[in-house]
């Protein structure tokens, strides 16, 4: 039972990660792929934040003359950076998708491949 509770958060992280990966592999729609990418990113955030938590700890904001246990602040910093960079990545990907749609009229991967195969010069 303690094994279950102690590791449950990791398992959920893996489920989320695999959900994102499955969307990236098995769905043909490009916007859906970016949604899968976001899922994958958030699961990584989770993995880090889970590791920073300490039992009975509190948020790493110092309080004078009190003896608290603080959670590890370093993963929080890394994830703060990662969230912002992740959204920047999504923004660029979505902009590319908009351009692809304007050029080809579709955002389904297999249709794009068919169009590419039909006109090798382009």
């Amino acid at each position: 039972m303690s094994q279950l509770i102690g590791l449950y958060s990791y398992w959920i992280v893996i489920v989320l990660m695999m959900a994102g990966l499955y969307i990236m592999i098995a769905r043909y729609n490009l916007v859906k792929k970016i949604i899968g990418l976001s899922l994958f990113q958030t699961s990584i955030f989770y993995l880090y934040i889970t590791m920073s938590k300490i039992e009975g700890g509190t948020a790493p904001i110092l309080v004078e003359d009190a003896d608290y246990v603080y959670s590890n602040p370093l993963p929080h910093v890394l994830i703060l950076t990662a969230i912002v960079v992740g959204v920047a990545t999504s923004a660029v990907a979505l902009a590319l998708i908009v351009r692809i749609y304007e050029s080809y009229g579709t955002i389904e991967e297999d249709e794009l491949k068919a169009i590419e195969a039909a006109e090798p010069d382009a």
Partner: protein, 109 residues
């Protein structure tokens, strides 16, 4: 096993009170999530998401009191605003099929 991590010693009666509210909120969130997944139309999903956001705000506020550090209510504040803005943005998208257009009044009404 599920002992409250309780850095500031708030008394047990008070902790009980917040635990009860937290459980009620979690049940509510589960039901709301079910509606968001079942919802036949997009509006049902949107309604569920909006309601879920309000529950999250309350959960964060109550959690701050439960752990004895009510310093982090700012997050709940930001949440309630973001939640509203997100809902309105999606609705505007439904209504005009665009996020940026401002010239809809003449032909719409």
């Amino acid at each position: 096993m599920f002992a409250t991590s309780n850095p500031i010693c708030i008394s047990d009666e008070i902790a009980d009170m917040f635990i009860a509210v937290t459980i009620a909120l979690l049940i509510t969130m589960a039901l709301t999530l079910a509606r968001a997944l079942l919802g036949p139309t997009l509006f049902d999903r949107l309604l569920a998401v909006n309601s879920f956001g309000t529950k999250t705000v309350l959960l964060i506020a109550v959690h701050g009191f439960m752990t004895g550090r009510p310093d982090f209510l700012d997050i709940a504040l930001v949440y309630s605003l973001i939640n509203f803005i997100g809902t309105i943005a999606v609705l505007k998208f439904f209504e005009y099929d665009d996020l940026g257009s401002g010239a809809y009044q003449e032909d719409d009404f």
